[in-house]
């Protein structure tokens, strides 16, 4: 009896410790930032996010994140398709390389873009000849975000294509459907949940991206200053309440997207 009593105390302690850790590490900080952003009242919160630099940064971020997500949707769908459906030399290698942007530190990613397209590089100088400026301008931000979010759509589409049985496609052919009709009415709808959730993940990651962007964006307030860098700047200048306010805006947006992804994936599981 004694042993069992001691056991139950142990397991009680253990459970509490794990749940407490979860609470302190994840729930409390998120809760805290929402509290902090309203700590000086609604009007201070309003002032913080209506600061022109703040909302310009948020708008810029959202705009570029949308562009990034759209490019990702197109490229990711094609690449996911190619990697699953075609057998060609180097396929396995490419398939492993897909994850590299996840494995690579984002700051390294930013530096790579800087080295490759910067004002001293061959590509940068060529572009400059045509009057195109990449680094420290919007295109660089798009490229940086594209690099970090590259795997999402591909990894979303691949399992769906692999699961899909050839018989579905064959059934469409036997009913006289053309190749393009089969693609748009049979294959694409199968891939769609992966494309949508992959695109949403890419969008939310792009919204949050900091490391790669801060190195290449130039961070000119009002022009190339994205939200996460703006928040960083506010923290550096000890304006934590303003930083928290913009953070809350960004967080809420991200949480909504996460919720949307859950719904898309939940629907997929049910059917």
């Amino acid at each position: 009896m004694n042993i069992r009593l001691r056991n139950s105390w142990w397991s009680f302690g253990f459970r509490s410790a794990i749940l407490l850790y979860f609470f302190l590490l994840v729930i409390l900080p998120i809760f805290g930032i929402y509290v902090q952003s309203f700590s000086l009242g609604w009007s201070a919160f309003g002032d913080s996010i209506t600061d022109p630099l703040a909302w310009k940064a948020v708008l810029l971020t959202v705009r570029i994140a949308v562009i990034t997500a759209l490019i990702n949707v197109v490229l990711g769908t094609i690449i996911g398709w190619v990697l699953v459906r075609y057998k060609f030399p180097g396929r396995r290698l490419l398939n492993s390389l897909v994850d590299l942007p996840f494995a690579l530190p984002t700051a390294v990613g930013g530096l790579m873009i800087l080295l490759l397209l910067g004002p001293n590089s061959w590509a940068g100088q060529t572009a400059a000849k045509f009057g195109l400026e990449i680094v420290f301008h919007e295109p660089a931000i798009v490229i940086a975000m594209l690099f970090v979010t590259f795997p999402f759509v591909i990894r979303g589409v691949q399992p769906l294509l692999e699961e899909m049985e050839a018989s579905e496609e064959e059934a469409a052919y036997t009913m006289g459907a053309s190749r393009s009709r089969t693609f748009f009415q049979v294959i694409l709808p199968t891939m769609l949940p992966g494309i949508i959730s992959g695109g949403m993940l890419a969008f939310s990651r792009a919204l949050a991206e900091f490391g790669a962007v801060v190195l290449v964006a130039g961070n000119i307030p009002g022009r190339t200053l994205v939200a996460s860098v703006y928040i960083f700047g506010q923290i550096e200048s000890d304006e934590t309440q303003a930083a928290a306010a913009v953070s809350v805006l960004l967080l809420t947006l991200s949480f909504l997207i996460l919720w949307g992804i859950n719904i898309v994936q939940g629907r997929r599981k049910r059917t």
Partner: protein, 265 residues
């Protein structure tokens, strides 16, 4: 048509991944191997790499232990109401949606020197923000979902019958865990560890905010790269970045291997 798509795929990979990777290497070796060695043997570089190493070890250990235990509770625990389990389960993903900078800010707001808790701890001689503990906490926050998301599906897939069978044969929870559960989730955990290490190694935004990026004190490899770039010392930055990139590629290979093993078992 087929050729076109494959060609396009190769082109994207080449432009987006392969060429940049080579560029880092060539950038670091711009002044030959000597330049690379010089960049890496700077005291701040050695210290930064060491800091990163320490954080990787601490974070990986804590995240693995707590991640595995939490996964087990979220999948199995009969003492948690299913609705609470569902709620906790969706909260697990939240750090994915939080920008690292915001993650860092949260910790500064909670235990920074201007807060009640922070001041109290500082009074007791414990410094969290602008010191190692804060950097560890920030990285733990960012890496939190990685282990849970790897282990939970494996636990769900193997089901609880083998564990119940062990129970019926007289085995108590620890013995059951090590002899029955662990061999089944092992490869999932290893995959989670690799992901955690990769993410910790590369963590930048959260650490930058929490650490204050103080050279030779709280500077990590990634924040050193940032500082070098800001100081227009691209060569030195490339050197450290090359080391990080090499580790990442190594981890990627490990990831592929773990994935394959996981599929076999």
């Amino acid at each position: 048509m087929r050729r076109l798509w494959i060609g396009l795929t190769y082109a994207v990979f080449l432009l987006l991944i392969v060429i940049p990777l080579f560029k880092i290497a060539s950038g670091a070796l711009q002044d030959g191997v000597g330049g690379l060695v010089e960049a890496l043997t700077r005291p701040e570089a050695i210290h930064a790499l060491m800091m990163t190493g320490i954080i990787v070890v601490i974070v990986t250990v804590i995240n693995t232990v707590f991640g595995v235990m939490l996964s087990i509770y979220l999948v199995r625990a009969p003492w948690l109401h299913p609705r609470i389990k569902g709620l906790l389960n969706s909260i697990v993903d939240l750090p994915y949606a939080v920008s690292p900078v915001i993650g860092g800010l949260m910790i500064v707001l909670l235990v920074g020197p201007d807060t009640v808790i922070g001041a109290m701890l500082e009074g007791a001689g414990v410094k969290i923000v602008y010191a190692l503990p804060g950097m560890v906490i920030a990285t733990l926050f960012v890496t939190f979902p990685l282990m849970v998301r790897e282990v939970m599906p494996v636990l769900q897939e193997i089901g609880s019958q083998q564990e119940e069978a062990a129970t019926m044969l007289g085995s108590y929870s620890w013995y059951t865990f090590w002899k029955v559960t662990w061999p089944s989730i092992r490869w999932g955990v290893i995959y989670g560890v690799v992901l955690t290490v990769a993410r910790t190694l590369g963590e930048f935004g959260a650490v930058l905010v929490v650490s204050g990026n103080i050279m030779n004190l709280t500077q990590t490899a990634t924040t050193l790269v940032y500082q070098d770039v800001e100081n227009f010392n691209v060569l030195a930055a490339s050197g450290v970045a090359l080391v990080l990139a090499a580790f990442s590629v190594g981890l990627l290979l490990l990831m592929e291997w773990a994935k394959k093993r996981r599929e076999v078992h």
